[in-house]
Symmetry: D2
Subunit: 506 residues, 4 copies
C-alpha cells in the first residue's frame, strides 16, 4: 500500500531527541579520544547538552580539605572543571550538570560504585556540601556568565533509588540532599534551573509522588523532573561482557511518559520532564549496542519520543567510559555511538539521520517519519521492523510513499538515500569478519572506518502531477534516510549525452 | 573460467604510473583550490613529480628587464617560484621542470598560445635565455640543495613540433634552443638531468631521429627522452566544449613504446623514456574526462604502461587549469582527476586503487592485475571492457580468480572491495541528476562528495586448501579493487552470536 | 604634564576604521597566500567588508559571449566568484562589491589599466552591461540570501575621474554607467545598497556636486557616497620602486571630511560617506608602507577617522597584489598590512592594537586615545609624533596618564604593553639587516616572523585612591598599546616569595 | 675579558640532553592537554624518548584476570597502551619503557604509592609477571615491528631502593624481579635492550656494586644502567606545596657521573649510563620549577651533562601529572616544562635554546657554550650565575666573545638574540602580577602565553677581519641564545634609505 503524503504539515519535529546526550565520568572528558569523538558527534549530529557522573568525585579534584595554622579548611579547585567545560563550549555543547558523587573528604562512609570508585554516601556535613555546591555553581557563573549558566540544567545526584548509587537507597536522605542542594543553587542565582530526582527505571511509581509531596510541602525549588529508561532484562554474564533479553522498544516510550502521568494533578505537573538517560541495555558491556539491530530497534523511539517528553538523552555518546573497567577490545558492547578511535556504530547513523530531518512533519507511521525543511527538501526516515527475540528477523520490508513536490516547475527530483543495515554501515560486522582483533592495527582501523560508512545511492526521480513515487525496500535491520529535492534543470540546450564518445550526428 | 593464481610472483609493479603527473600552468599552483586538490591527490595517490607549463611565462615574474643608469639590465625574481616549489615539497611532490614559455621581455615575436597567452617564439637573445636558465636552475640549487635538484628532470620546452606551441614548428630553432638550454643546465651542475624534445603524438617518427642525430653529432647533453600520448580524434565543437571520437586505449601503450623503438640503435637507446603527458582527449573541455567510462578505458593502460616506458604522466591532476579560459561549470570536461573544490572523478579512484596495489605481480590479464604486498595482502585491480564507439556497452562481466593465501593457519580471509562504475563513485552522474548546476551550492557539493565515494563491500571468505575463490562481477564501466587478507581469529571461546539478544542457552 | 582621565566616557569608538579594507584584484583571492593572510588579518584585526577591483574583468570569467545556432549569446559564469565569496564568508568578512572593470567581450575599446590589463572603457551595449549587473547581483542573492546581500554595499566603478581608470575621465559617460548600474541593482531588490562615484583624491570639488545634481535630477538610486584619500606627492622612480614626499597625516582626515562638506545642503547630505580607499602613498612599490614610520604616521588617523566619516578602508590588507607586476622582493613597498607569506608590518599591529580598544572613549589627544571596554579593562593607544620630512625624527616622547580604576577593591592593576617602533616589531628592519634577501629562506622567514612580533612588557601597578599612574615612554616611531586591568588578588595567605629557595623562616 | 673563539671545533655536542624526557603516569598520555603539550615540546625541542610510570598499573588495564569454566585465566589488553604509543610515534617520540607498577590482580600486598595508588609490592607469581612482561613486549613487537622496538630501552621498575616505591626496599626481591623481567624481555627477542636498577639519588654507592655483582654472577642480561639525580633538601610543607633548599647545580653533574665511577672495573663498566630522571627538586609542588632562576640554574647542567653520561632525562615535560593529586592552581610548582594549557616556563626555553645549538662546540666556559652548525650559523648559549641561597642574586653579568665568521666575503653578520630572565619570558611572574588566579580565564591565558615569549632582539653586527665582537649583558637569572649568521648582501645599487620620505636628491 502506498501512503499518499499530504503537502500540509501534521506537526513539528522538536529537539527533545537532541536536547541532551550522556557521557562517561567527568574527567574522561580530558581525553583526546573523548574530545575527538565529541567533535565528530557535534559535527554530524549536534546535541545541545551533555550529562555525566563524577563532577564532584575525587578525580576532578574540586573539594580539597587542608590544614593551616592548626585548622581544617577547604579549597575549591576548578582547573579540570574549566578544562572540560571550555572544551565542551568550544565543541558547541553545553553541560547538563549532575551534582555528585561525594568527594572522599566529605563522605560519611566508604561505599563506592563502579571500577573508578565514586563514593555514594551522604555528606558528613550538609553545610560543607552546600558550600561545595554554591562554590561550584558560583564559579561557573563567574567564568561563563549568568546568561549562559541559566541555560544549564542542574540535577541533584543519580538514581538515589538504587542502593548501588545511594547508600541504602534512603529516600529521606536523598530528600535532604536535594533540599540543601536546590537552595544552594538558588543562593547563587534564582534563575538557575535545578531538578531531580534522576530515578532509575521502575522506581518512579513509589518515589515520584513522595518526592513531589516533599518539595511541595517544604517549598523546595524545582525546575524540572528527571528519570531514566532502559529495556533490558537481567545480565547473563560471560567474561568481559553480558547478554540480556530486551523488551520491545515501545516500553521506552512508556517509560518516557510515566513521570507526567504520575505527576498529573500535583504542583509539579507542568514542569519539564527530562529522561536524563536511556538506552536498550543498562550495561556498558552488552554487544547489542554495537549492532545494526540496535539502530532499527531505537528508530521508532527517536521518531516519537519528543511527543511524550521534553528530552531523552542517549546514554552515551562514546565508548570512552570505564564503569566496569578499561575495555579489553575495541568492540566490547559499550554504550557509545562511537567506539574508541571514532568508529561510527549504526546507532550513530540513526542520530545523524535524525539530524538531517526537517522541522515539518508531513507524515508518520510505524515504520517511517516524513519531514520537510524550509528549503522544501523532504527527508524520510524509515526502518525495518525488528524482533527482540531474534527468532524471526525481517529480511524484507517495503515502505511506499507518494511525496508532494512543492516546486511546481520541477520535472524531476533528486533522491539521495543513505542506509545502515546488517550489511551496510555496520563496522561491527566487519570487525567480526576481521577476526575480532581486540586492538586493531592502523590499517584495520581504516577498514573499519570505511565499513562504517552508510551505503549511499542517488537517483533522478520523475515528478508527475507534483508528486514523486518513492519505494523504500529495506533489508534486515535497515534504517534509511531518503532525501528528495526538486531539481532546477540548468542543462544547456546543446547537451546530448549520446555524443560523449563523439559520433558527430549525421 | 577461473584463473588459478600461483603463489610465486611473475613480476614487479614499478612506479612508472606515479612517477609524474601533469598540472595547469605554474602560477595556478599559488591557488588554494589547487593546493587543496594536490594535498588530496598526494594523500590518496602519491605522485613523485609534477610537470606543467609556464615557469618562465610572465605570470610567474621571473625575467624582469629594467633600465638603470641608462642601460638595460635583467633581474631574476623567484618569489612565486619559491612559493610554489615550497608548497610542492611540503605536499610531498617534486617538480618535473619544464623550461618555457618565453618571457615577453625576451621574446622575438608576439605569437602566444592559450587563453593565458604563453609566448611561443624563440628568444631574441640566446645568451639572455641561457642566463635565464642558469639563474633559474642555480637558484633552485641554492634554495633546495644540489642533492634534491639532481632528482628533478628538466625538460626543454613543450611540443615544439606543433605550430601552436613553437613558432613555425621549426626543428632547427628548437635544436638550437635545446642545445643552449642543456648546456646552461649543465653549467650549474653536471649531475642535473636535462632532456626533451617533449613531442606531441604523431611527430616522433620524423622528429626523434633528427633530434637524436643532432644531440649525438654536437655532443649535446641529454639524460632522458620525452613525448606525449593522446587517443582522441578531431574536436567536434559545441559551446564551451567538444566531443571527440576515441581510439582504443591500446593505442596509448603503442605510443608509449614508440620512442624506444625509434631510438633503438642510436646513442640515445638506453636513456629513460618519459611520457610527459598522456590522456584520452587532448582537450580540457571534453566531458569524457568526467565519466566512469574514462576510468575503465584507462585501467589497462595504467596496469601495463610501466612495462614499456619509465614514466607516463596523466595530464592533469586537477581541473584548476585555464588553457581555454575560466570554466563555466563545475563539470566541464577538464583533464583533472579532481574538479574544482575536490570532487573526485572515477579516474581519480583508478589511480587511488593503483596506489593500493602491492609490489609483486602474481597474475595479469586483459581485465585484471593481481598483486601482493610484503604483508601478504593481495590486491586485485579488475575492470570491465569498454566500447569506444559507445554502441555496445558491456553491462556484465565477470573475473573469476583462485587466490593463494600464504598464511597456512588462516581459516578465513577478509575481502574489502571498492568500485567505481556508471552507478557508483560517479559524481558526474549525480551532477547530471542534480540538473547540472554550473556552480553548485554548499549542500550540492556535499552531495557530490558523497556520490564520489566508491561503493565498498566487505566479506569473510573461506580459505580452503590455502586458497580463496573470488568472483568479481563487474557492471558497466566498473573498475574495482579487491583486497584480500588472511584473518587471525581472536574470537574468545565464549563468544556465541546467537546470544546477542539474551536467550540464556538451556 | 600628566593627564587625569575621568571615569565618565566622553564618547564611543565606532567601527568606521574596520568597516572595510582593500584588496588586490578579485581573482587573487583564489590564492592560498591571500587566504592565509586574510585569515590572519581576520583573527587579529577583524574587518567587516573587503573591496577590490576586477570582479567583472576577464580573469574572473563572468561574462562569456558565445555563438550558438548562428547567434551571439552571453553566458554568465560564477564559479570563481563563488569560490572567492564562499572563502570570504568562511573567514568572517563580507564583500564590498565594486562593479568593474569592463569584460573584453563587452568593452567598447582596448584601453587597459595595470599590469593585469583591466579594461577601462564603457560598455559597447548598456543593455548587455545592465544584464551583466543584474545577473551577477541576482546570482549573489540566490546563493547567499537577500538578507545577507542587502548588507553588502555595491559601488559603481573605480576613480572615473582619472583617465587611467575611465576612458577620457568622461563624467557624462560615468553618470550614464552609474544610472544603468544603479537601476540594474535595484531591479533585483530595492533594499540593496548602491553608491559611487569612488573618486580619486582631488576630484571631489568638481565631480561630487555634478554627480549629486545628476542623481537628484534623474532620481537615480543612491545609498552611499564614496571617494579615496592619499597623501603622497609625485612618484620619484627607481627600478622596481618609487619614493614620494608625504603630506602630514592630518590631510587624510581633511580628505575624509570633504564629501560631507561638499554635499551639505544637497539631497545627498545625509547619506553615509565611505572612503573606499586610503593610504599614505597610492603606489604599491613605495617602501614607506613597510616601515614603523608608517604606523606612527597613521595612528592619529585611525584614532580620529570615525569622527568624520562612516568608513575608511585601508588599501590593502595584503601584498598579494599585482598592479605593477609580480613583486621582485619580499619587501617591495606593497600596500599590504602583511607581506607575502604573512610577515606582519608595523601598520598591521596598529590595526591589531585598534582591535584591542574598548567601546568607551575616556580621553583623547594628539598622541593618545584612552578607551575602556565593558569588563573595565582600559586600553590606551599612544604614538610618537612623526616628521614627514624625515629631517627631525622624534626619538623620545612621553605620554603621562592618570587612569581611573573602577574596581574599588583592587590594590593593584596589571599592565600589558605592546609596542612597535623602529626597533621593535619591525620585520622590515630585520630584513634590511639580513641583507635584503629578495626571496628569504624558510629560516629567514622564521626570523622575520619573530622580528615582526611587537615588544611586550608586563607589570603590576599600584592602585592608589582608585587610580593608576601610567608613564608611556615612546621611542622613534613607536606606537604602543597599554592595557590596564584591575587585579583580583587570589594569593593564599601562606605564600611567601622569600621562601622560594627554602630557608625555613626562623 | 673577551674570549677569542677559535675557528676549529673543540668538540661535538651530543644528544644526551634530548635522548629522553620524563612524563606523568602512562594513562595521562590519553589526555588532550598532555598530547597538545607534547606536540609543542616536540616541535620546539624534539626529545627522542619518553619515560614514565604506570604502564602496568590498573589504570592502563593490561593485566585482566577472569574466571571461565571454573578456572582463573589472564587476558592481556592493550587498547590504551596502543592509543598512547600510536600518539607518541605520531608526535615523533618513542617510548622508554618502564616495567611497573604491579597490577592489583598480581600484587602480593596492598602497599601503594602516590595519589593514584600505584601498587609497589612484588608479584605474587613470578611466572605470571614473566607472562605479563613477555605478552606486553611481544605485543609491542607485533604492532610496531622488531626494528622499531629494539630501539626502545626497557627499564625494570623505579627506585627500588626507596620503601615508598618497592616494599621494604628489598634488594634481593628487586634482583629477582630484575632477573625474571630481563629474561622475559630477551625471550621475545635477544636484540631488545633491558636495564636498571633506576636508583634514587644517594643509593648507588650501596646498590650499584651489589646489582653489578648479581647480574654478573647469574649472567642476567643487562644493556644499560640507570639512576636518578636531584639536588633538593627536605620538604618544608605549606598547604598544597613545599619549599626546599637546593644544592648547587654542579651536584647534578656529580650524580650523573657516579655510576660510571662505581662500575669501573666491573663487567658493566662499558654499558651506557642513563639518568632516567633528573631535576632540582624531586617534588611536583615546589614553585622553584616555575621560575627563571630554574632555567639559569640548570643551564650549565644541560651544557655539560652529555660529557659525563649518555642520557639525562628532565623529569617531566608537562605539569599533567598527579602524584600528589590534582593541582589546585595553574602554577603549582609542577615539574613540567609546560603548565596545563601549554604555558611555557623558562626551563622550556632553556631546552628550546639547546635545540638551536649546532653540533660543533667552538668554546665553552662557566657561563657559556659556543656552537656552530653545518650552515656556519654560530649559536651561543650563555647564562647568568645563580645563588642557590637566594641571598646574593647576580643582577648584571657580561659574557664577551670574539666569534669567527667563516664566510670570507661577509661584511656584516645578523644577530638574533632570545632571552628569558626574571623580567622576560617569565609567565610565572606575569601570573603573580595577575593576582595568582588558580584557573585563569581565556584572556588571562592569552596574556600568559604572550608573557611566556622570550624577549627577542636583532641587530646587524660588523664583520672585521673575519670576526664579530659580541657582548652579552645578562640580567638576573637570564639565559640567552645568541645566533650569529654571515650576511649575503643583496641590496640593489640604487637603494638609499635616506630617500624613504622622498626628498629627490639634488
Amino acid at each position: 500500500m502506498r501512503i499518499t503524503v499530504a503537502e500540509q504539515p501534521v506537526g513539528r519535529l522538536n529537539d527533545a531527541w537532541r536536547l541532551a546526550v550522556g557521557t562517561g565520568r567527568f574527567d574522561l572528558a580530558l581525553r583526546r579520544d573523548y574530545q575527538d569523538s565529541l567533535a565528530l558527534v557535534q559535527r554530524e549530529i549536534g546535541f545541545r547538552h551533555i550529562r555525566g557522573h563524577g563532577l564532584l568525585s575525587d578525580g576532578v579534584g574540586v573539594h580539597r580539605p587542608y590544614e593551616y595554622q592548626g585548622r581544617r579548611h577547604v579549597r575549591h579547585a576548578f582547573g579540570y572543571v574549566d578544562q572540560v567545560i571550555d572544551a565542551y563550549l568550544e565543541l558547541g555543547i553545553r553541560p547538563f550538570v549532575e551534582l555528585g558523587f561525594m568527594p572522599s573528604g566529605l563522605a560519611s562512609a566508604d561505599q563506592t560504585v563502579f571500577w573508578w570508585q565514586g563514593n555514594v554516601t551522604p555528606p558528613r556535613s550538609h553545610n560543607e556540601w552546600a558550600d561545595l555546591v554554591r562554590a561550584t555553581v558560583a564559579h561557573l557563573v563567574d567564568r561563563y556568565g549568568i546568561d549562559e549558566v541559566r541555560g544549564w540544567p542542574i540535577e541533584v545526584w543519580n538514581e538515589p533509588d538504587l542502593k548501588d548509587f545511594w547508600q541504602d537507597a534512603d529516600a529521606d536522605a536523598y530528600h535532604r540532599l536535594y533540599e540543601v542542594s536546590a537552595h544552594a543553587v538558588k543562593d547563587v542565582d534564582a534563575g538557575l534551573q535545578v531538578g531531580g530526582p534522576a530515578l532509575s527505571p521502575g522506581a518512579d511509581d513509589t518515589w515520584l509522588p513522595r518526592f513531589a509531596e516533599f518539595v511541595t510541602d517544604r517549598k523546595v525549588p524545582i525546575d524540572f523532573v528527571s528519570r531514566h529508561a532502559y529495556t533490558s532484562g537481567p545480565a547473563q554474564h560471560v567474561p568481559f561482557g553480558v547478554h540480556q533479553d530486551l523488551a520491545p522498544a515501545q516500553r521506552l516510550l512508556e517509560q518516557f511518559a510515566s513521570p507526567r502521568r504520575l505527576l498529573a494533578g500535583t504542583a509539579l505537573a507542568e514542569l519539564p520532564v527530562y529522561i536524563t538517560e536511556f538506552n536498550s541495555s543498562y550495561r556498558p558491556d552488552n554487544p547489542i549496542h554495537d549492532t545494526a539491530f540496535h539502530a532499527a530497534y531505537l528508530a521508532p523511539v527517536l521518531a516519537a519520543g519528543g511527543d511524550v517528553v521534553d528530552s531523552f538523552a542517549y546514554w552515551t555518546f562514546s565508548d570512552v567510559f570505564e564503569e566496569v573497567g578499561v575495555p579489553t577490545a575495541l568492540f566490547h558492547g559499550g554504550f557509545g555511538l562511537l567506539t574508541h578511535r571514532q568508529i561510527r556504530k549504526p546507532t550513530f547513523h540513526l542520530y545523524a539521520f535524525m539530524n538531517r530531518l526537517g522541522g515539518q512533519i508531513l507524515a508518520r507511521g510505524a515504520d517511517h517519519l516524513v519531514t520537510r525543511d524550509d528549503t522544501g527538501r523532504i527527508a524520510v526516515l524509515a526502518w525495518a521492523p525488528v524482533d527482540v527475540t531474534g527468532r524471526e528477523p525481517v529480511d524484507n520490508h517495503t515502505v511506499r510513499l507518494s511525496l508532494p513536490i512543492a516546486d511546481g516547475t520541477a520535472r524531476s527530483a533528486f533522491l539521495l538515500r543513505s542506509s545502515v543495515s546488517d550489511e551496510a554501515g555496520n563496522a561491527w560486522r566487519a570487525w567480526c569478519e576481521l577476526g575480532r582483533p581486540p586492538s586493531p592495527t592502523a590499517r584495520q582501523l581504516d577498514v573499519l572506518r570505511q565499513a562504517a560508512e552508510p551505503a549511499r545511492r542517488h537517483a533522478s526521480l520523475p515528478v508527475a502531477a507534483g508528486r514523486v513515487e518513492l519505494d523504500l525496500h529495506l533489508t534486515r535491520h535497515e534504517v534509511t534516510l531518503a532525501e528528495v529535492s526538486a531539481v532546477t534543470d540548468e542543462t544547456p540546450p546543446w547537451w546530448d549525452e549520446r555524443r560523449l564518445l563523439g559520433r558527430e550526428p549525421s
